[in-house]
């Protein structure tokens, strides 16, 4: 069951390796927090493991209003950046809530998107921030909005020979991410709610994770929020719309009815956190 580890330094080389291999022959390793589980369970049994460790993708850059995060930068390094925390608080919330600190020292944003888990805590936030994924491949570079990138669990818009190079967030936004888990630490969210306010109308983005086969935006809730600074009735209507229209399912983490209750409460709380940032509760929602 052995494999060889390859760690190219240039993106073109990495893409070549992928493009020339048969499906499943090469596994891509970023932090490995998801991949190692797949190797252990036998779901993935590659001949070669392509480590992204040496690629020049561990950067975090502001370019005017736009933030670009390298796909292989460990989450803990994003988390300790004071500018990110101040300017995009929701991204910090979402990242800070992932697993444990040990996990975040290894886990990456690229890996989170690559796994495309329905219970990802980061994808809903990236959706609310209108983020896009920069992809490199043997055929060149392209950029895809996160909404079009994540197709289903373990399924993305990546084509053969392509890798995620970075993730771009077009502007810093007042934002919040709140979640509920059976166990607050190191568990998978029963429901995660991301809210962000754009600088121009339409102002509000509401996205949901942990509930549907892939994280989704909730246009019905967004539509209720017209004003840049909505009043309570608007917020309540948005929360109700979310609880009514979000597609819910029952699984071993929560029932549909409970998820519905959670979504209503958490949407309202997340909007409140964005509208009145000084009232943000510290830590767990």
């Amino acid at each position: 069951m052995g494999f060889t580890l390859v760690a190219p330094e240039r993106p073109e080389e990495a893409c070549e390796i992928l493009a020339s291999a048969a499906p499943g022959q090469v596994a891509v390793l970023a932090g490995g927090t998801d991949l190692l589980l797949d190797l252990d369970s036998g779901r993935s049994h590659p001949d070669r493991v392509l480590s992204l460790r040496r690629l020049p993708w561990r950067s975090l850059q502001w370019n005017g209003p736009t933030l670009t995060i390298g796909s292989t930068l460990p989450l803990s390094e994003i988390e300790v950046d004071p500018v990110v925390r101040a300017r995009i608080p929701g991204l910090w919330d979402a990242i800070h809530g992932v697993g444990s600190l040990q996990l975040r020292h290894r886990a990456t944003l690229g890996g989170n998107l690559g796994r495309a888990s329905p219970t990802s805590d980061l994808i809903p936030m990236l959706l609310a921030l209108d983020a896009s994924v920069e992809i490199v491949g043997v055929q060149g570079i392209r950029s895809v909005p996160v909404d079009e990138f994540v197709l289903a669990s373990r399924s993305t818009a990546l084509r053969v020979g392509e890798l995620i190079a970075s993730i771009s967030i077009p502007e810093a936004r007042p934002s919040a991410y709140v979640w509920q888990r059976v166990r607050p630490s190191n568990d998978i969210s029963q429901v995660g709610v991301a809210v962000a306010r754009a600088s121009r109308a339409p102002f509000w983005r509401v996205a949901l994770g942990g509930v549907t086969p892939r994280p989704v935006r909730l246009p019905e809730a967004e539509r209720e929020l017209r004003a840049e600074r909505p009043l309570t009735p608007e917020v309540v209507r948005a929360a109700e719309a979310a609880a009514t229209h979000a597609p819910f399912a029952t699984d071993k983490r929560a029932t549909e009815t409970y998820r519905r209750q959670l979504v209503g409460v958490l949407v309202r709380r997340a909007i409140a956190m964005v509208s009145a940032p000084l009232d943000r509760p510290v830590g767990w929602a």
Binding site: M1, S100, Q180, V182, R183, P184, S185, N186, D187, I188, T250, K252, R253, A254, T255, E256, T257, Y258, Q261, L262, V265, W284
Partner: protein, 741 residues
């Protein structure tokens, strides 16, 4: 450094059962039943036998051949012959050169099973509370009943009757190290190194399961990566031994974590009905009925039902009572003991109920329990005399701290305080023997157990010796050996290690002290001291180096050996009160009261424990740091079963969450600050008056948390664990009739 085991554990040098290995060894794997109930038509081994690296595949027929001439226990066949009783039941075992080969071959074994209808849970047998005659139901494998006093009269005279139904769910031990062993068969001897809480009872089990003589079985314990009841007696050893017998090679067999959850012998659900007749501010009559899901079987089924049910009456006086319990067989894996088997669940139900009655009466719940709490000399409902017992003092202290905390928390806003009580019985009548060996430079405790993590062996036993002989810890050592050479001891369970085996060490140490005094020309006791690397003995005025007190023969034989035994007393219940099955007499009562401060999110039902305090009637505390660690560990484990831990089963009898991802034990993030208090005043039967402490710390936790949640919200949750979703339902945040998971 008093926990001498810790440096090697921290650095990773310690070898647990999981780490065992030796040259030429094969790896074992079990073939587990893919269905929960069925008729076994046959097993196909041909494909598995032809796979690379496979050295043996052993099923029922091979077992017969390997054990020809031996008759094992028909109640516990190694592999089933006709009926498969639960999903995960071992049907065959494979040995191969690598673990991957063994597992692949185990998967390749063909299991031909005609499925039979299954009994998934208690409700499918008894959708309603069973009437009389339920004891005859084919799914009922044990029935116990006891009563005393005129219960009907109490119910007729009652001012009100509080009637409640509670449910509990299964909890797993979650020892970090799964069951693991390494077996060899040599010259007719069955040798196994294994991670066990009880080498001697493992030996007894192996001998009875395989039908081989006890003298031919040798069990050597390894360091144990946690037991919590799951590693008492034999588990994987018989399979590994059969594979070793079949191949003539050493075979290692270790469960993976999913298997550990499935067949590691976890606890299963229960339904309990409690009814109290209340008059004059007191519970005067109580009816308790228990339905216990015992899975495919239950070792000592009456014992478990009769033992568990005693805890349902709580540590409380009552004029008249009736308790009745049924063990219901289902197609889940067999029920097993989990730290303080079933007592935390019973305390949750009994103490939630008491708290509820107090609230309905509008009286202080702690004061209400003080009215009922057993005092030393009282009789339990089963008629047993309660000996030294500090329930009242623990409750008083918890109540006083509750009053202080009450002033410190904001009123309302979802905060709540709750007290939970529990009692336990140190299983001190199980036997133990130990030898203390004195050399010119050190004292060695020769004994038959292994350290399972609590410190009771590695620290508890030396602490007893140090107290008797006044020696510093540096010159005391614990030695470990196998069942062929170690003195007998019944096991590291039942909270008995310090109280029971420690009693044997105490007696040996006192014997040694008297012998040294005699050699020093005194009739009293002797103490030891260290001077310049050597040991000195002192008794009434005379002091000599130990070297001079030992004979050359003794020095040649490794030192002076003095043995001690401790077989504790058994209590007695009033048999006239028992009308069905058997009940258990407790021994050496211990009490605890815990206090929890919680916050409940009143929109989501999420419960967070913010502060915690534990008061324990522990007799004399032999080693304060170990006491503290043990209570903290028990509280953390109890918080898990209070809030997040439960096994989930499908209607087909499948365990839905056999992983640490979906079965959630607390992490440090969920652990509040914990105050730990020893409440002195009531001596136990252990050395110097010590009482058992292995299990008591987990018992009151779910009750304390549940009562705090009731205090915070005004509503009661009747099912454990108190998941946020259950609390949300109790708070009526979810539409009625919304399905449960």
């Amino acid at each position: 450094m008093i926990r001498t085991d810790l440096p090697a554990k921290v650095s990773g040098e310690t070898l647990f059962g999981m780490d065992l290995g030796e040259p030429g060894m094969l790896w074992g794997a079990l073939v587990l039943s893919p269905v929960a109930h069925g008729r076994l038509r046959g097993l196909g081994f041909a494909e598995a036998r032809a796979m690379p690296g496979v050295e043996a595949v052993v099923g029922p027929e091979e077992t017969d051949r390997l054990l020809a001439g031996h008759t094992g226990d028909p109640e516990r066949p190694v592999f089933p012959r006709d009926v498969v009783a639960y999903r995960g039941q071992p049907l065959a075992a494979v040995a191969a050169r690598t673990l991957a080969q063994a597992r692949a071959a185990a998967r390749a074994v063909r299991c031909e099973i005609d499925p039979l209808p299954i009994v998934p849970d208690i409700e499918s047998v008894f959708p309603e509370w069973p009437g009389s005659g339920a004891g005859e139901h084919p799914s009922v494998i044990a029935h116990v009943r006891a009563a005393h006093g005129d219960l009907e009269a109490e119910f007729r005279a009652a001012e009100f009757v509080q009637s409640e139904t509670y449910r509990t769910n299964g909890v797993a031990q979650v020892a970090l190290e799964p069951h693991a062993c390494l077996a060899r068969v040599e010259a007719g001897r069955w040798l196994v190194r294994t991670s066990t809480q009880s080498p001697f009872s493992a030996r007894e089990d192996i001998s009875s399961i395989l039908g081989v003589a006890e003298e031919s079985v040798v069990v050597e314990g390894t360091w144990v990566g946690g037991g919590f009841g799951g590693k008492a007696g034999a588990s994987v050893e018989p399979y590994a031994l059969l594979l070793a017998a079949s191949t003539g090679r050493p075979v290692k067999l270790a469960l993976n974590y999913a298997e550990e959850f499935l067949i590691g012998r976890s606890t299963l659900p229960s339904v309990v009905h409690l009814e109290s007749a209340v008059r004059g501010g007191r519970v005067t009559g109580r009816r308790a009925r228990l339905l216990l899901d015992t899975g495919a079987s239950l070792p000592g089924r009456d014992f478990a039902t009769g033992y568990a049910i005693g805890f349902l009456l709580g540590p409380y006086r009552v004029d008249a009572f009736e308790v009745e319990g049924y063990a219901v067989r289902t197609n889940k894996p067999p029920f097993g003991p989990h730290r303080a088997p079933f007592a935390p669940q019973c305390a949750f139900m009994a103490d939630s109920h008491m708290d509820g009655v107090a609230r309905r009466l509008g009286v202080d719940p702690v004061a209400f329990r003080l009215v009922h709490a057993w005092a030393p000399g009282d009789r339990t409902p089963l008629g047993q005399v309660v000996g030294p017992f500090g329930m009242i003092e623990c409750l008083q202290k918890a109540g006083a701290l509750l009053a202080t905390w009450r002033k410190e928390i904001p009123y309302g806003g979802g905060f709540g305080l709750g007290v939970g009580c529990g009692f336990w019985s140190t299983n001190a009548q199980a036997g133990g023997e130990a030898v203390v060996r004195l050399t010119p430079t050190e004292l060695v405790i020769e004994q038959g157990e292994r350290e399972i993590g609590s410190g009771s062996v590695v620290r508890g036993l030396p602490a007893v010796l140090e107290r008797v002989l006044h020696v510093p810890a540096e010159v005391v050592r614990v030695s470990y050996s196998d069942t062929a050479s170690a003195p007998f001891d019944s096991g590291v369970f039942g909270s008995r290690t310090v109280a029971g085996l420690g009693g044997a060490v105490e007696k040996a140490a006192r014997g040694l002290s008297a012998e040294l005094a005699r050699r020093l020309g005194s009739t009293g006791v002797a103490h030891l001291s260290v001077d310049g690397g050597g040991l000195f003995a002192t008794a009434t005025g005379s002091r000599r180096p130990v070297e001079e007190l030992l004979t050359p023969q003794e020095i040649g034989a490794g030192g002076l050996r003095v043995a001690g035994k401790h077989y504790g007393a058994t209590g007695a219940i009033d048999d006239a009160r028992v009308s069905a099955g058997s009940f258990y007499a407790y021994t050496d009562f211990t009490a605890a009261a815990h206090l929890a401060l919680v916050h409940v999110d009143r929109e989501t039902g999420a419960v967070k424990v913010l502060r915690y305090a534990a008061f324990h009637d522990a007799g004399v505390v032999i080693d304060p740091p170990t006491f503290r660690a043990q209570v903290e560990g028990g509280v953390v484990m109890g918080l898990g079963s209070s809030l997040t831990e439960e096994t989930l089963w499908s209607p087909e009898g499948r365990l839905l969450n056999p992983s640490l991802l979906d079965y959630r034990i607390p992490t440090l993030g969920e652990v509040p600050p914990i105050e730990v208090h020893a409440v002195p005043g009531h001596l136990g039967a252990g050395p110097f008056g010590a009482k058992g402490l292995g299990e008591p710390p987990i018992i009151p936790v779910p009750a304390a948390v549940a009562n705090a949640v009731a205090d915070a919200t005004g509503v009661r949750v009747y099912e454990m664990p108190l998941s946020a979703e259950r609390v949300a339902r109790a708070l009526k945040l979810l539409p009625e009739g919304g399905e449960e998971r």
